[in-house]
């Protein structure tokens, strides 16, 4: 399962065609990936005249002005915090709930199991637009009935996003839990742990890579969503995905600030992503393969 050592393909030396094709392919692919990234970085260091005029590879002058201006053109810091809270909370909730559900499906036989898994899968097919208005109505009515404000609040958005990522998370974790040997939780039960004890002391630690993978997926889903965020947030709860649009104002599209702001908000995410990469590779294996 989570063997960290890569299996070398064969003891025989690969043919030359393998090496040159690899070189060509990876060079092209790196270019494809890097060009937009380079454009982001270089544009974020250009004065406005450079990005609203003819494209140029190098800035006419290097400036860090965009990195200063981004904070005053829109309340970037607030949007960033909102996005972090929403995506973070949605991720944590989604993972915890998915762990429970996946554990039940993986370790128990019960009536309705098939119905459950199939239903979960089918929610992945819903066009978001079909339930945008109904969901809004439900939130408003829950708000009227219970006093819990869901529309316009971060809570409503968290609830929405966590269910977006839930189906795939459950799906992946079922596969991953299946690959954790049952003897392990047997032993825990013999030691006097309850089923939940076995889950948290044995299964979860063994499945950490899968859980990390699910968490990353859940986070990215919530981090980038535009449609629901655009109608379900207000000025104080707006998230980045929608808020960044504020750089194209009635006067001008501040491309350099868009790029600078995108980079600023992406750096922590990309860094975290890369740190988790090791887990991720091992994690997605068992989940998806199963």
């Amino acid at each position: 399962m989570s063997s960290t050592s890569q299996a070398p393909r064969s003891p025989m030396a690969p043919p030359r065609s393998f090496f040159w094709s690899r070189r060509i392919f990876l060079t092209l692919l790196t270019g494809f990936v890097l060009v937009p990234v380079y454009v982001m970085v270089s544009s974020s260091l250009k004065p406005l005249a450079d990005v609203t005029g003819k494209f140029r590879w190098l800035p006419s002058e290097l400036t860090i002005r965009p990195y200063i201006d981004i904070w005053s053109t829109i309340p970037l810091a607030r949007y960033f915090v909102n996005s972090l809270i929403v995506a973070g909370a949605a991720t944590v909730c989604s993972v915890v709930i998915a762990v429970f559900a996946a554990y039940a499906v993986s370790r128990y036989d019960f009536r309705g199991k098939r119905v459950f898994t199939v239903t979960v899968l089918s929610t992945q097919m819903l066009p978001g637009i079909l339930f945008l208005l109904p969901l809004f109505l439900i939130y408003v009515n829950i708000g009227n009935a219970t006093g819990i404000a869901l529309f316009g609040s971060r809570g409503g958005l968290i609830l929405t996003y966590l269910t977006f990522s839930l189906p795939f998370s459950i799906w992946m974790l079922i596969g991953y839990f299946d690959s954790v040997p049952r003897d392990l939780d047997e032993a825990a039960l013999v030691d006097g742990c309850g089923p939940l004890g076995a889950l948290f002391r044995v299964v979860v630690p063994a499945a950490i890579p899968g859980i990390v993978a699910v968490a990353v997926y859940a986070f990215m889903t919530a981090w980038g969503e535009v449609l629901f965020a655009s109608v379900m947030t207000n000025d104080t709860t707006r998230t980045l995905a929608v808020g960044l649009q504020g750089y194209s104002t009635l006067n001008n599209v501040y491309w350099n600030q868009i790029m600078a702001a995108s980079l600023v908000v992406s750096v922590p995410v990309v860094a975290g992503f890369l740190l988790l990469q090791r887990y991720l590779v091992a994690g997605l294996t068992a989940g998806a393969v199963k």
Binding site: S10, P11, G128, L280
Partner: protein, 331 residues
């Protein structure tokens, strides 16, 4: 079917113990034994019900109503439209149905191409990066960057590059390489399909790469060694061992990519705004426009329901075919 119901189908390569399926946790009493799994599922069930299933049923109800601007304040008062919304949607001789059909076909073409390319690039990259070489770690990290960027940031960068007058793409193709007679349009007109495809593949292939890379690690080394002893070269090993072993991964990967790409709203919305050019009029944006921009939520819902039915059928057939294929392959 393996991932949705691993208990039934997936016995062939499970690690130790998984093959035995008798429920074991009997001690804490009968009620608890029966109740616990349901208790564990409860939070997921409630949330799915609240956010997906109940709104879905409401959406279906909407699709049978004449829900225009005159009635959106009070849905109960909206007159029942019977099957009118559906008739309008599938009347392919009339403009609404015709536009829907065209949008649907564009979406199918786009999805097939995008998923195919994502899978191809992702798999090739994963295989090429399997053996260690200098810079492999760096490349692997770099390749994940498009997936880690927020959708808006990634897509808006492409908008910037695709501009007619000031974009990088025309600068390179026209000004520097002289490949075109005059600068091309990418965000309007026919090329917008290409632009959408490029952005979608750029955003999507790292996910395929990730999953396939993970899948490769599960292939036992011994298989390659045995094949090498039989005299199979590198390319033959890839064809005979690597690709067949990836089948279960691919089954899930392709399905997930298909569903996500088909329903993707964020990418076309950021790329083109509220009204997409005809050549890149994906169904998600089309339905958005049908309901929000023209304020006819009944027809929009009917279109969504038709889409849902289509995806259900496709998924069912797909799972049936691939599962059967897998079984025969495994025997």
């Amino acid at each position: 079917m393996t991932t949705t119901a691993p208990a039934e189908a997936d016995l062939h390569d499970s690690p130790s113990g998984a093959a035995e399926r008798t429920p074991r946790f009997r001690r804490p009493g009968r009620l608890r034994r029966i109740g616990l799994p349901y208790l564990l599922l409860l939070p997921a069930l409630i949330l799915e019900l609240l956010v997906h299933l109940v709104p879905m049923v409401m959406g279906m109800v909407m699709s049978f109503k004449e829900l225009t601007q005159f009635y959106i304040r009070d849905w109960g008062a909206a007159p029942w439209a019977g099957l009118d919304n559906y008739k309008v949607s599938v009347d392919f001789d009339a403009p609404v149905g015709e536009a829907l059909l065209r949008s649907f076909l564009i979406t199918v073409a786009f999805t097939v191409l995008s998923v195919g390319l994502c899978w191809l690039i992702g798999t090739a990259a994963a295989i090429y990066l399997q053996d260690p070489f200098r810079g492999r770690g760096l490349l692997r990290a770099l390749f994940l960057v498009p997936y880690a960027l927020p959708v808006y940031a990634a897509v808006i960068t492409w908008v910037f590059m695709f501009q007619h007058d000031n974009g990088l793409v025309n600068h390179v193709l026209h000004d520097q390489l002289g490949l075109t007679d005059k600068p091309s349009f990418w965000l309007i007109g026919d090329n917008s399909f290409v632009a959408l495809l490029v952005v979608s593949v750029w955003k999507g292939w790292p996910f395929a790469f990730l999953i396939v890379m993970a899948g490769l690690q599960n292939i036992p080394k011994e298989q390659y060694e045995a094949a090498a002893l039989d005299g199979a070269g590198m390319w033959q090993q890839i064809r005979r061992i690597t690709l067949p072993s990836l089948r279960p991964v691919n089954q899930v990967l392709v399905l997930v990519l298909f569903l996500w790409t088909f329903n993707d709203f964020n990418t076309p919305y950021v790329l083109f705004g509220k009204t997409a050019p005809e050549a890149a009029d994906l169904i998600s944006v089309h339905i958005y426009q049908a309901s929000f921009v023209t304020w006819n939520f009944g027809t929009g819902s009917a279109m969504s329901v038709l889409l849902l039915l289509f995806l259900l059928v496709v998924t069912g057939v797909y799972l049936l075919l691939t599962s059967r294929g897998r079984k025969t392959a495994d025997v």
